[in-house]
C-alpha cells in the first residue's frame, strides 16, 4: 500500500496513543451515525423525486437485488483492507467464478449446487494463492492482485468460450437471484447472513482481533504471537470466496454469465469499504459502517438509473459521494483532521494556524 507522506508530515507532533484511541472509537461511532443519516436522506430524496422507487417499501426492497452483489464483494474486501492490504483481483474473480460454475454445470453436467461448491473451493484456492505470493515473497498486495486480476480475467474469457451457458435450473435462480420470502428478496437474505458472519468474525472472534491488529501494527502483532502470514492468507481467501459468491449471485440475477461482469464492480466495492470508514492503511473501522455504506452506494445507482441517468453518471456521483464523505470523515478524524485544518487555516487566517496546531496537540 502506498503511504500518505503529506499526511504523515503534517501530523508532525508526537501522537498520544491513549487519547488517540479514545477519540478514535467515538469518531468511528459518529461516522456510522453520519452514514445512517446520509442513507435516510438519500432514500427520502429518491422516494420523493423518483416515481416507483418507494413502491410501498417492497419496491425498494426488491430493487436491492440489483446491487447486493457489490455489497457482498465489499464485505470480503473489507477483511483485506482491515489487514492493511488490498485485493484488486476480486472483480475478475467474480467473473471467473460465474463462468466456472456455469461451465461445470453445462459442460461437465454436474449438479448445479455441486458446481457452486467446487467453484467456491476454487476461489478459496486462488485467494490462498494471492495471499501466499504476497506473504511468501513479500511483494505488495497491490502489485500481486493487479497481476492476478489480469490472469484471472484471461482465464475467465478462455473458459467462457464463444457462447457462455445460460438458463440455469429454477431452484438455483430462486435461491441466488430472483426468489423472495414475502417482500424480502433472496439476495438480501444471503447478504444479511454474510454481513452478520463478517461482523461477528471481525468484532467477536480471536481471528478478527488478530486481523485488525495485523492491520493496525504489524510488528506488534508479530511480537504478540499472531501468525501474520496465516492471518493475511485467510483474509485473501475470504475476499476471494466472497467475490465468488458475488459472481454466482450475478449469474442468478441475470440467469446468464459473462466473462466481464465482475471487473466494473471492483471500484464500487473499494468505494464502499472506504466510505464505510475502514482506514485504507488498515486496523481501523467497523463492519456496520461498511454495510450501511454498501446500501448507500447501491441505492445511489438504483435511484439514479431509475431517474434515467446513464451508468457513467452513476459512477461519477458515486465518486463525488466518496470524495465528500472522505473530506467530512477526515475532518472528523484526528490525524487527517490536522492536515485538513492546517490547510484551511493557511488559506484563511494567520491566527487560526496557531489555534489549529494547539488544538491538535491536546
Amino acid at each position: 500500500m502506498s503511504a500518505n507522506p503529506g499526511g504523515t508530515v503534517s501530523a508532525g507532533t508526537p501522537v498520544d496513543l491513549s487519547a488517540n484511541r479514545r477519540g478514535r472509537a467515538s469518531i468511528d461511532q459518529v461516522w456510522v451515525w453520519v452514514l445512517v443519516v446520509l442513507l435516510g436522506l438519500e432514500l427520502l430524496y429518491f422516494s420523493l423525486t423518483s416515481t416507483g422507487f418507494w413502491g410501498g417499501g417492497s419496491g425498494m426492497l426488491s430493487a436491492s437485488s440489483e446491487f447486493l452483489d457489490v455489497s457482498v464483494m465489499a464485505l470480503g474486501l473489507a477483511l483485506v483492507i482491515f489487514a492493511g492490504e488490498i485485493d484488486l483481483s476480486i472483480g475478475a474473480m467474480a467473473s471467473l467464478s460465474g463462468i466456472v460454475m456455469a461451465q461445470l454445470w453445462h459442460v461437465e453436467g454436474l449438479n448445479i449446487w455441486l458446481a457452486t461448491l467446487i467453484t467456491l473451493v476454487m476461489a478459496a484456492g486462488l485467494g490462498a494463492l494471492n495471499g501466499f505470493i504476497i506473504t511468501k515473497f513479500g511483494i505488495g498486495s497491490l502489485l500481486v492482485t493487479l497481476a492476478t486480476q489480469f490472469i484471472f480475467s484471461s482465464v475467465a474469457t478462455a473458459v467462457s468460450g464463444e457462447s457462455p451457458p445460460y438458463g440455469f435450473p429454477k431452484a438455483f435462480l430462486t435461491i441466488t437471484g430472483t426468489g423472495s420470502i414475502g417482500p424480502i428478496p433472496a439476495d438480501l437474505i444471503i447478504f444479511a447472513v454474510l454481513a452478520l458472519f463478517i461482523g461477528l468474525l471481525v468484532s467477536r472472534t480471536r481471528y478478527g482481533r488478530s486481523l485488525v491488529l495485523v492491520g493496525h501494527n504489524r510488528p506488534a502483532a508479530r511480537y504478540s504471537g499472531v501468525n501474520v502470514s496465516r492471518t493475511l492468507i485467510w483474509a485473501f481467501i475470504g475476499s476471494a470466496v466472497f467475490a465468488a459468491i458475488a459472481g454466482i449471485m450475478i449469474a442468478g440475477v441475470y440467469n446468464a454469465v459473462r466473462d466481464d461482469v465482475g471487473i466494473p464492480l471492483l471500484l464500487p466495492s473499494v468505494t464502499i469499504v472506504v466510505l464505510g470508514g475502514v482506514d485504507i492503511f488498515g486496523g481501523k473501522g467497523r463492519i456496520s459502517g461498511v454495510i450501511i455504506a454498501s446500501i448507500i452506494i447501491g441505492y445511489v445507482s438504483v435511484g439514479l438509473l431509475d431517474g434515467g441517468s446513464t451508468p457513467l453518471t452513476v459512477t461519477m456521483v458515486q465518486g463525488i459521494v466518496l470524495i465528500v464523505g472522505l473530506i467530512i470523515k477526515i475532518s472528523l478524524d484526528r490525524r487527517g483532521g490536522v492536515a485538513f485544518r492546517d490547510a484551511l487555516a493557511r488559506f484563511f487566517a494567520r491566527q487560526h494556524l496557531g489555534k489549529a496546531t494547539v488544538s491538535s496537540d491536546v
Partner: protein
C-alpha cells in the same frame, strides 16, 4: 561495535587488491539494472519471434510497434513520477480520454489547429491534475483513494462532454502525426514520446524539483525536515502526471484517429501504465524508478502484444501475459535488489577509502 561498523570492517578485509572483484561487481550492478535487463529481454523476444515469423522485424512492423507504445510511454512517465512519491494515479485513463475528446471534437468540426490542440491538452491535463493534487495534499486523502474517486468523477465528466457522440474523422495533419514515419521504422509519434521521456529524465536528475520528488518518495519525513516543501512537491507531481496524461490523449487521438466517451478506460490505460512503470523497475515503495525504464516497459508491452498476434496465440491470453510479466518483474527485482545494494555499498566504501 554496531552492526554497520562490523559490516564495514568486513568489507575492509575484502577490499585490498580486489580491483578485479570490484570491476566485476560494478559489471554485475550494471547488468542488474532494470533498463539493461529489459533491453536484453526485448531483443531476445524480438529475435525469437523474428525467427519464427520472419516479417516481425521489418521496418514497417517495428514502426507499428514503436508507435503503438507511445501512448503508454507518455502516460507511464507521469505515472512513474507519482509512484516515485509513493503515490499512485488511477485517474490517468479518464484524464487521457477527456483531453482526447476535448480536442477531437473541435478538430473534427472546426479544423482546430494542431498546435493549439497541443496547448489545449496540456492545460486540460494540468487542470485535472490540480484536482488530484488538491485531494491528495489539501484534503489529505490517500492517493489510491483520491484518484479512485477522480477516476469515477472524470470518467463521468468525459461522458457528459461527449454526450454520447464519437470523434470519427480528423484533419489530415493529425493523421499524419499519428501514422507517418520520419525515416522508415521511426514514427513521428516516437519523437514525441522519446522527447518527453528525455525531458522527464533531465528534470528528475538535474533540477531541485525533480530531486525533491525522489526525496519525498524515499522518506517524506526526512525530506520535510531537510526543508523540502513536501506537499508542494506532491502537488506538482500530480499536476505533471495530469499534464502527461493530457499529452497522452493527444497522442492517442492522432494514433487511433477516433475518441469516445470510454476512450482510455476501454483500453485499460490505468493498469497498463502502472504495469509499464513497474516492469520498468519503479518501486511501489517509493524513491526509486526512472522514466526511461517505464518507456522501455511500454515498448516491451507493445512488442509482446504484437508478438502474441503474429504468433497466433489467442488474444484472450494477452492480459494474462501482462499479469505474469508484472509478477516476474517484481520477483526478479527483489532478487536483484540486495545484490545491487551490496555492489553500491562496496563502491561507496572504495570511494571513501580512496
Amino acid at each position: 561495535m554496531t552492526a554497520t561498523g562490523q559490516a564495514l570492517s568486513y568489507l575492509d578485509q575484502q577490499m585490498p587488491g580486489e580491483t578485479g572483484e570490484k570491476a566485476r561487481s560494478r559489471l554485475v550492478a550494471i547488468l542488474m539494472r532494470r533498463e539493461v535487463q529489459l533491453l536484453v529481454a526485448l531483443l531476445l523476444m524480438s529475435g525469437i519471434v523474428d525467427v519464427l515469423r520472419p516479417q516481425f522485424l521489418s521496418s514497417s512492423n517495428i514502426s507499428f510497434m514503436l508507435a503503438g507504445s507511445v501512448v503508454i510511454m507518455v502516460v507511464a512517465t507521469g505515472q512513474t513520477m507519482v509512484i516515485i512519491t509513493r503515490g499512485i494515479d488511477l485517474s490517468v485513463a479518464p484524464m487521457l480520454g477527456i483531453a482526447a475528446i476535448a480536442i477531437g471534437f473541435p478538430a473534427q468540426n472546426h479544423n482546430l489547429n494542431i498546435f493549439v490542440a497541443l496547448v489545449l491538452v496540456i492545460l486540460i491535463g494540468i487542470a485535472l491534475g490540480v484536482g488530484n493534487g488538491l485531494l491528495v495534499t489539501v484534503a489529505g486523502i490517500p492517493p489510491i483513494i483520491a484518484t479512485l474517486a477522480t477516476l469515477s468523477v472524470y470518467g463521468g465528466l468525459q461522458f457528459v462532454f461527449t454526450s454520447g457522440l464519437t470523434v470519427i474523422s480528423l484533419p489530415h495533419d493529425y493523421i499524419a502525426v499519428g501514422l507517418e514515419d520520419i525515416v522508415p521504422g521511426i514514427p513521428w509519434l516516437l519523437l514525441i514520446g522519446v522527447g518527453i521521456v528525455i525531458v522527464a529524465e533531465l528534470f528528475l536528475k538535474f533540477t531541485p524539483w525533480g530531486r525533491a520528488i525522489y526525496a519525498v518518495g524515499n522518506n517524506a519525513d526526512a525530506a520535510y525536515r531537510a526543508g523540502i516543501p513536501v506537499r508542494r512537491t506532491l502537488f506538482m507531481t500530480y499536476i505533471i502526471c495530469g499534464l502527461l496524461s493530457g499529452i497522452g490523449g493527444f497522442v492517442y487521438l492522432c494514433y487511433i484517429g477516433s475518441a469516445s466517451s470510454t476512450t482510455g478506460t476501454d483500453t485499460n490505460v490505468n493498469l497498463i501504465s502502472i504495469a509499464a512503470t513497474l516492469i520498468g523497475g519503479t518501486s511501489l515503495l517509493g524513491g526509486r524508478g526512472r522514466p526511461i525504464g517505464a518507456a522501455l516497459g511500454a515498448v516491451f508491452l507493445s512488442v509482446a502484444d504484437t508478438a502474441i498476434v503474429v504468433l497466433r496465440i489467442l488474444p484472450i491470453w494477452e492480459p494474462a501475459g501482462v499479469g505474469v510479466l508484472i509478477l516476474l518483474a517484481v520477483v526478479t527485482d527483489r532478487q536483484s535488489g540486495p545484490a545491487t545494494r551490496r555492489a553500491l555499498r562496496t563502491r561507496h566504501h572504495a570511494e571513501v577509502a580512496a
